[in-house]
Symmetry: C2
Subunit: 467 residues, 2 copies
């Protein structure tokens, strides 16, 4: 005790930094430790966590779920329409994120619904479409409830074409709509005649042509293509330049053999060549297929979906069935296109965070240093994000490698327990939509999955385990 | 003096490391400085260097030459044949590297010449072709002497199609042949019927189709495409996966519009899609066009070509006209395909080091971490190579950026003086050919441009300056 009073103190400080500052001001040495209590101080979640961390039942379930995730092998099999999906009635519209009613939807989602109604011919004009949407005559359902995913608003209507992705291991399928390209697009809530014309062209020309080419090819294996794209500067969420070019490369010859109209062929090749995000929707459905393979393992804390409807952020967990655990959707910290600012931005939106759920996107930013020109930060930040995500995942991908990290696999298999324990929220690369419908993308940036979703999931998992 | 004897010495040691080791063994502190005398101890070259370093005449000439290099803007303009090149007689064969006679040529180059003679129909069989080549009835000339470049053996015969690259600034053109793909290929000295059949198909189907598409497009700007490829993991010498996919993306729609035969179109698309090195030859001619823009500035020590004929490595320097400065070609340190070893390897071969001369290839390895799986080393080595090359160049590219180095430009504009002064030899990524003709590529790796070429150039520049 005498030594403590006589000598100069050397202090490790946890918590409020002011204590350390006082020591330093008095001539002592103090090191501030970056630490936060588990579950950000939420006592109930922390108690649940204490029971779940290291619990053999959870560990075993996670091993099973993670192995199933790693083993899944998505193949781009072909093209279908929503009508061919099981369990869907005639007047249903699928949307991104967890369930939400018309009145609570954000601007871009309402706009996209108006566009989808016009596209289907269910209403004469936007006003009538809006009235129909509000009338209750149309059922809205999360795309995730029907094995599908869609970027941004994610609106999918019955006659829209869908990519069919099949997991070779389970035979289970996942679906996504076609990417329309940048600028004014349905997924950002635009519903002008140009948007509807392009959607019709996608349905009549593009999708059948690509479908025939895929039939001729017998499908395209997606894991090798995505792994190659990671060595070519993509993280296959916000940067799909390489993956889109690689998919075009795979399809081009087959398209030439199977497309009868040379005008149609030229249009299709031009469209695919002109859209660096063409692969995004395929990437999303591939990730959905991998994660669905890991879903439904009792006791598992593996996160199998993260999705946003523009109002709420929701997650699903392997051992917790069809439940969503939600929190308010965050804003996105990013770079804005000229003329726009954070005041114009919609909140975090879309099913595309399924890529991060599978260890890609923000988790694989180290593969895509050039993305920082688009989402902000430095190439070093990109690497730091990939490294930090290792603290909340069950392992590393055996297929998706990060060249800049000496070919280590991407961190994947988000463990809800570890998110709560460390307070590290999953990082997400994302586009930013204008909050008004129809204006489109106004920027891109980084956001985080809210800790509260994971804390709820941990509580539910603990409750279920003790039931 | 007393302090030196009494105290413990702190020593910086230059030269033999043993002196430093003795100090350390005696309890002192010694730091070994990594230093070598300029010109590796060559007194004449060092004296010349002393006169050239900082000489206003040379500095001014280099500013002019480097500015011209940076300003050049190569466009992929179309397709022609060798016959359309000025100054070429009927029975000439172009080859890679500095001048060389038939008897001294390496195996792959002799094999490629046999193939070219058979392709042209100048001889009935390989034996007759060999006799014709040895007879003196055919003139051999470096491709570089006719504004052209070719990878590996680089053999170009009169009826072969060529890429036409035009510098928009000067209107000057550069040329390269078409890439045949991997495996057995003329550039590795293979001349079997499969090789000749493919060459014919390239001449009859591929080149006219691509030429028509380029006519329809009005050309393709190459600097933006190559810059984009650098953000997609290429260094556009040994890795052209992205650039080839990007070129296909640019050409696909136009090909569909201009190719009348749908069978031909499908073949062309399949061929381009199946060859990740398709862009290599375009990259080489683009670099040639940029460097030719900097050539011929009196007094300039800027290196405007590095090329190898498999026996000698040669360089040309802006202020030294058409002269070559040569040294024996080095072996390549690399990774071999299964079943091959260094004992099977030809020495460093081909005009493709024009990419390094322009600050790409080995100089831009930091853009292509995944290339180390092909040429050896680690992603860190790749970054180190890009950093080290800054010590021997006049500046950085204003277009070609390295994302991993925080978007700094690639080191470019090799200054012969700095190479001699530092002893740092330009690093080159390259393929490795089997030393026997016809076997093909057996590996890839790294090599260096021999210091002796640069020392000779420095002597010549000094002599010319004093004349």
């Amino acid at each position: 005790m005498a030594r403590l009073v006589d000598g100069k103190p050397g202090v490790l400080n946890v918590g409020l930094a002011q204590f350390a500052e006082a020591v330093v001001a008095a001539g002592g040495a103090a090191l501030q430790i970056d630490w936060a209590p588990p579950a950000a101080g939420d006592r109930a979640a922390a108690m649940a966590l204490a029971r779940l961390v290291g619990a053999p039942r959870v560990e075993e379930a996670n091993r099973t779920a993670f192995a199933a995730f790693l083993a899944a092998s998505p193949v781009l099999r072909g093209v279908c329409t929503v009508r061919e999906l099981p369990g869907l009635d005639r007047r249903v519209l699928l949307h991104a994120g967890p369930p939400i009613e018309w009145v609570r939807m954000c601007g871009p989602m309402q706009g996209a619904i108006v566009g989808a109604i016009l596209y289907e011919g269910w209403a004469r004009d936007a006003e009538a479409a809006r009235a129909l949407a509000a009338s209750g005559a149309i059922r809205f359902a999360p795309a995730h409830h029907h094995a599908a995913v869609g970027p941004m608003a994610g609106i999918i209507s019955p006659s829209m074409p869908l990519w069919v992705i099949e997991d070779k291991v389970s035979g289970r399928r996942a679906y996504s709509n076609f990417n329309e390209g940048l600028g004014k697009a349905l997924r950002f809530g635009a519903y002008g005649s140009d948007v509807l014309e392009r959607l019709k062209w996608i349905g009549i020309v593009l999708a059948p042509a690509v479908g025939a080419a895929l039939d001729a090819l017998g499908g395209v294996e997606l894991k090798p293509l995505m792994a190659q794209a990671l060595t070519m500067g993509d993280e296959v969420h916000n940067r799909n330049a390489a993956a889109s070019a690689l998919l075009l490369r795979r399809l081009a010859g087959a398209l030439a053999r199977t497309t009868s109209s040379s005008q149609g062929l030229a249009e299709v090749l031009d469209f695919v060549a002109g859209n660096e995000h063409f692969f995004l929707n395929v990437s999303m459905a591939a990730c959905k297929a991998m994660l669905d393979a890991a879903h439904g393992v009792p006791g598992s804390s593996l996160v199998t979906a993260m999705a946003r409807n523009g109002v709420e952020f929701g997650i699903r967990v392997s051992g917790l069935g069809e439940r969503w655990f939600t929190a308010p959707a965050a804003s996105v910290d990013g770079l804005y296109f000229a003329g726009y600012s954070a005041a114009d931005a919609a909140r975090d939106l879309g099913d595309s965070a399924i890529t991060e759920t599978a260890g890609l996107g923000g988790f694989a930013m180290a593969a895509a240093p050039a993305i920082v020109k688009f989402v902000g930060g430095t190439p070093e930040d990109a690497i730091d994000n990939s490294l930090r995500m290792r603290q909340i995942t069950l392992g590393e991908s055996n297929v998706f490698q990060l060249p800049a990290l000496d070919f280590r696999g991407t961190a994947c298999g988000i463990d809800a327990r570890r998110v709560v324990d460390t307070g590290i929220e999953p990082v997400i690369n994302t586009g930013i939509a204008h909050r008004e419908p129809g204006i489109g993308q106004i920027g891109a940036g980084l956001t985080r999955a809210p800790l509260a979703c994971f804390a709820q999931a941990v509580l539910a998992l603990d409750e279920l385990g003790r039931a």
